[in-house]
């Protein structure tokens, strides 16, 4: 589904990704871990197309198609979803209106008929139930005045609404209390199917108790320096990154 080959990316003169290789297949869950500042969020942003970063070399394909030549919105319409670490507030734009436009644009791109208002409302009700999102929030401005937990639930709600093929969840667990973490993580697992894939970026093993990964990768200084199965996350939780980093020479 997603194939990243020797990906290098910079912000300004500073190279952050220094040759990433990663392949994600349908039905898989990958976890990306690593110390702060190792490039995890940059990787997510670059895949989604954030113009703050410049790709200097390498390739990213999504279902065989060159992703890097596509604008941000076309990547999204093809089924790529990024759950933001810091969801952005959009004053004056209601969540319901935002989702109505997003769903309509994505359906149009796929050549599907637009949803009727009744169908849309039904979809909103169904999907907000997945993450126990208070229905009052959908009439409020996007992320404005939402608590940390509500913002993250709102990300997963949007993921449910848009039904992406590949979801990259950037520290969706950060800032959540134990109950909210359970709700968010359970929501993600309920959306998992054999024909979609999930990449979770996280610092904590706890999230992976719910969203069980097939692969765990350690990103350090812009490279994936180690990959393993779910037991790697447990080992990292216990022993930290030192044993890996000490072995690693730039």
């Amino acid at each position: 589904m997603l194939k990243i080959t020797d990906l290098h990316a910079s912000v300004g003169d500073k190279e952050i990704l220094k040759g990433i290789n990663l392949e994600v297949k349908a039905g898989e869950v990958h976890a990306i871990m690593g110390p702060n500042g190792s490039g995890k969020s940059t990787l997510a942003s670059v895949i989604a197309g954030n113009e703050k970063f410049t790709v200097t070399s390498g390739s990213v394909t999504f279902e065989g198609e060159d992703l890097l030549s596509l604008p941000i919105e076309d990547r999204a319409r093809k089924g790529l979803f990024l759950g933001f670490q810091y969801p952005v507030e959009i004053p004056g734009v209601s969540m319901a209106n935002f989702m109505k436009i997003a769903v309509a644009e994505q359906r149009k791109y796929k050549g599907l008929e637009p949803l009727s208002p009744a169908e849309f409302l039904k979809l909103m009700r169904e999907k907000s139930a997945i993450v126990e999102l208070d229905s009052k929030l959908t009439s409020r401005a996007v992320n404005e005045g939402f608590s940390g937990g509500e913002k993250k639930k709102n990300e997963i709600f949007q993921m449910a609404m848009l039904d992406p093929k590949l979801s990259i969840l950037d520290e969706t667990d950060s800032g959540l209390d134990i109950d909210a973490l359970r709700v968010v993580a359970t929501g993600v697992t309920r959306l998992k199917r054999a024909d979609n894939a999930t990449v979770v970026i996280t610092h904590y093993q706890r999230l992976l108790d719910y969203i069980v990964p097939d692969y765990v990768h350690v990103l350090y200084k812009g490279r994936i320096i180690y990959s393993g199965d779910k037991s790697l996350a447990l080992k990292l939780e216990k022993e930290g990154y030192d044993w890996l980093i000490n072995d690693y020479k730039e």
């Binding site: 197309g49 919105e73 999204a76 004056g92 997003a102 949007q158 848009l162």
Partner: protein
């Protein structure tokens, strides 16, 4: 419904000056050259000022003791307008104003009576080669008055939008509460000039002012595009949201949809 239909169906009452009474439906003055308005003691009235052709206009309003007046003003054509409001003790004036043309509009509020209150909301949207100026002078002339203003502007193309705001607090105007906010977004090669000022001669006052001029928020655009919105749609939604935050505070029946339509039509041209 347009304004003419609203007038025909009686939802707006034509008004050419004089004493304004409490009425089932708001009064409307369309392109008035000069308008003198009085709101008598204890009366709650509503007034719509509408400029649809190029106009020069002077509006004088007296609001008596404990009376209140809601004003909605739409500047849809290039106009040169001065609106002066004199407020007596305990009176309240709420103004919602939209400049969607090359206009020069001055509002003068004189808070003459103890406990008078002014709430002022406005937007201006300019594009092409337009130049719009909004002047707001709020004079706290006695104690315990309150004023709160929020002005949002968007400029595009090669246009210029100006906001000049002055809050004056007289030496005797103790316990004044004055807030003034100016928020602006500049697009393309356009220019925003925002000059909020405070002139305070009393010591026991609570005054704040803020002014920002920014570009479209790149992170918000990225967020919206990541959900599948085109760049143009994301930008439009962001600007609409920014402006609607003010426009949605309109609570005068009938005319709100006219105000909303005028602003939306203008935003579609950006």
């Amino acid at each position: 419904m347009g304004v003419e239909q609203l007038i025909e169906s009686g939802l707006l009452q034509p008004f050419c000056g004089g004493v304004l009474e409490s009425a089932a439906h708001p009064a409307v003055a369309v392109n008035p050259k000069s308008l003198d308005v009085k709101v008598a003691n204890g009366v709650s009235a509503r007034l719509v000022l509408l400029y649809t052709t190029s106009s020069q206009s002077v509006v004088n309003i007296d609001i008596d003791r404990d009376a209140s007046l809601d004003i909605v003003a739409i500047y849809a054509a290039d106009s040169y307008v001065s609106v002066s409001v004199n407020q007596s003790e305990g009176s309240v004036c709420k103004t919602m104003s939209a400049l969607v043309s090359s206009s020069n509009v001055t509002y003068n509020y004189a808070l003459n009576g103890v406990g008078a209150e002014s709430v002022f909301n406005a937007v201006f949207v300019v594009e092409g080669r337009e130049h719009s100026t909004l002047n707001l002078n709020t004079r706290h002339l006695t104690s315990d008055c309150k004023s709160c203003s929020l002005v949002k502007g968007v400029s595009a193309g090669n246009s210029t939008g100006e906001f000049h705001g002055l809050v004056y607090v007289a030496p005797d105007a103790q316990r004044t509460d004055a807030q003034q906010q100016s928020r602006n977004i500049e697009l393309d090669n356009s220019r925003i000039i925002s000059l909020p000022q405070l002139e305070i001669y009393a010591d026991d006052v609570k005054c704040s002012h803020g002014s920002t001029v920014g570009y479209s928020d790149a992170e918000a655009l990225f967020y919206m595009r990541q959900r599948g919105l085109s760049l143009a749609a994301a930008r439009r939604l962001q600007i609409e949201g920014f402006i609607n935050d003010v426009v949605s505070r309109c609570d005068m029946e009938g005319i709100c949809s006219v105000l909303h339509d005028a602003v939306t039509a203008k935003l579609e041209r950006l």
